[in-house]
Symmetry: C2
Subunit: 422 residues, 2 copies
């Protein structure tokens, strides 16, 4: 049943460590004291626009079931979603938020011990993106590119419709545009600022590959699991899964992705692991998950896979840049808040993946510049590193024409319905 | 495939009109100008506690797909969810809500035309529960039973974890405890009130029958669809479905529940229906949905069905009352915000259903009194009407002992796992 559970894994967006070096295990849990730093821009360029794509921060396990026999970790969640109804047409109700409802998960009658929802953002996750926001403030606010207070005409915020990604976007904004927390009554407008945060129905969202949007996604997946590439590798995966099962005395083959998620979430919260499970053994399992995830995205080719999957999001990003390049109105900064899968798929589509799972609060940046030699050029950053795009011959700045030419090979056509048919 | 689609219907919680009298169709859409009124208490009693169970207010369709050929209704949503991160342990961050993010659904790339999420609460829905809150204010606040400002030590709020039910609970609270909308800085505490709203993970929620909590739910459903009762009735349903399909020239048999939801949501928003579809014909279809829903809840008996299904919620309500009866601390007012199915299942379990689908913003009230003749007694109200409980011989006030004796027959045991096994 190994094929079965791995096939499901892709859609569940679980966080997985990817490398056999134990030091990377800490890396998976994300940064806490500082955000991902942003290297200074190249010389002689003029920043026009920035698009940030993030993965949510630290969270609880995404399956409420017990992780292994004897797992009795109690999850604790102080960070909650504050909520209220807002009528966007009734200005007078937008003055001051008089009452906020804190959404709290009842601690009883849950399979997950404690007071957390499954996959709820934690205070650690909040602080991770608060720190990322601080990095963005240093890079794009302190230099005057953006105004110090959050201005929706400059800043576009989008998230998929899931609490942890929404909270991550909000955390980042809190760090990028710090508030002093005081209520300064400014007359009719009151003292609460109301900021649009855009989302889509989950069914039609394109923050990651979506088989409802493009059924070809499922076809490619099915074909991958029938491919020689996968069948040749499967024996290795089965050996690793059996090895872990035999060592800990608990069969993980039916729910391997849940088990891997349990390892990460327990590790990042200093909760105990199964007896006898070493870090090296755990990493051998996580490596298998990574192998499958990255390789499935390259079937039948990187470009064809992206066109049916993450190409929809890439197209949104591309269109966003086009507005600037074409002299139309545009927001100088856009945030897209998604998942590990969002970033993995973007990295693979652009040919810049390193086979490393994106740790919590990972951040990818697309910067658009005008330069002395070209009207527009793009720089891509990932977790504080400049990523040179292979289709730009490894240059730090990729001319917009070259960038656009490549994006046309990894994005779906406008009338995608026929293209997506299976 | 009629059996197939009806089997799914139950879990989708669609709103259905139930009666062949056209005047009831308006009733399905819920009240707008005033809430459900609350009759005065009986004489010589002392109110101890109130538990309200509501259905969410008016909403958009719960399936984004087009309703029928030519359906081009554009949904419009001004009411959105305002959200922010809140750390319940950091008091200083709880002073004033400086920034609220308005969650707005992008109007492009959606199958539902417009800017609404599927099944999003509308401004009409907000006003319906605002009005219900006004009725509760008149009945329980103006007389001094509750303090005029929302006090979480007196008021317990629970909803399932779905935006429309959460917003409905918040709307009702806004009506029950009106705010003046002004920010009155009161020093360190700021001017925003933070109020807990409790929920559960959807997978483990008991606001309606839940097969994850109690697999016996599925067994009973399967058996119902194999029962003589259903098989004898099936022919009628097929005839009605075919009659509607033939009249409008569009086969609805594969997605009958979606079609019925479309009828209601379009009707309540003055959107057009398919040509040739009369109100009587529509009602004949809705009546079939109602027949199935109510009868399936009576299989294998009302009591046995409830014990596996809505009995979990009834047990929460019962335990809530028990705290008062046992002299423990308790909140004087509790709100449970759920769905049509929540109310249908409660009404059937208590033997007081009328075969009428609960219109939007329906409200059921359980009042606990002490009386001159009994230490505790219960009165049940539904949409402004006193419901006499058959197991209490039709008395307006049911002694707590009788009430408890009956509840023990429709609620699961504490160690429900074995009981629920199939």
């Amino acid at each position: 049943m190994v094929v079965g559970f791995l096939f499901l894994f892709f859609f569940f967006s679980s966080p997985i460590l990817t490398h056999s070096s134990p030091s990377l295990f800490d890396y998976q849990c994300g940064l806490t004291t500082a955000g991902w730093s942003i290297p200074p821009p190249p010389e002689d360029v003029n920043l026009k626009q920035v698009i940030a794509v993030i993965r949510h921060g630290d969270r609880t396990a995404w399956n409420g079931s017990s992780c292994w026999p004897g797992d009795d970790y109690i999850w604790s969640c102080d960070l909650v979603h504050g909520q209220m109804p807002v009528d966007t047409k009734v200005e007078k109700e937008r003055g001051t938020a008089g009452r906020i409802f804190e959404k709290i998960f009842l601690p009883t009658n849950e399979e997950m011990h404690g007071n957390c929802s499954v996959a709820q953002l934690t205070t650690i996750g909040y602080k991770q993106h608060l720190a990322n926001g601080g990095s963005l403030n240093s890079a794009y606010v302190k230099n005057g590119f953006l105004t110090p207070s959050l201005d929706p005409s400059q800043v576009f915020i989008r998230s998929d419709d899931i609490p942890r990604t929404i909270l991550s976007a909000q955390s980042l904004m809190d760090g990028m545009f710090p508030q002093d927390g005081k209520c300064e009554d400014n007359g009719d407008d009151g003292c609460t600022q109301f900021v649009p945060l855009y989302t889509r129905d989950t069914m039609y969202d394109n923050m990651e590959a979506n088989a409802d949007l493009c059924p070809k996604v499922t076809e490619y997946q099915t074909q991958f699991y029938e491919s020689t590439t996968w069948l040749n590798h499967l024996k290795t995966t089965i050996e690793v899964v059996n090895n872990i099962s035999n060592t800990i005395g608990f069969n993980i083959s039916d729910n391997f992705e849940h088990f891997c998620d349990c390892l990460i979430t327990h590790y990042c919260h200093n909760a105990s692991w199964p007896d006898k499970l070493t870090e090296d053994l755990a990493l051998s399992g996580l490596d298998e998950m990574v192998w499958m995830s990255y390789n499935s995205l390259k079937y039948p080719s990187v470009q064809e896979n992206a066109r049916a999957g993450i190409g929809f999001l890439l197209k949104d990003i591309w269109k966003n840049f086009n507005r600037s390049v074409n002299g139309e109105d545009y927001e100088k900064f856009s945030l897209y808040s998604g998942h590990d899968t969002t970033l993995i798929q973007l990295l693979v589509a652009l040919g810049i993946d390193e086979g490393i799972w994106p740790p919590y609060s990972s951040m990818m940046l697309f910067e658009l510049y005008s330069t002395s030699t070209a009207p527009a050029a793009v720089r891509v950053l990932y977790n504080g590193k400049i990523k040179t795009l292979p289709f730009c011959n490894g240059q730090e700045l990729c001319s917009y024409e070259t960038f656009s030419n490549y994006l046309s090979t990894v994005t779906p056509p406008d009338d995608y319905q026929k293209f997506c048919q299976v």
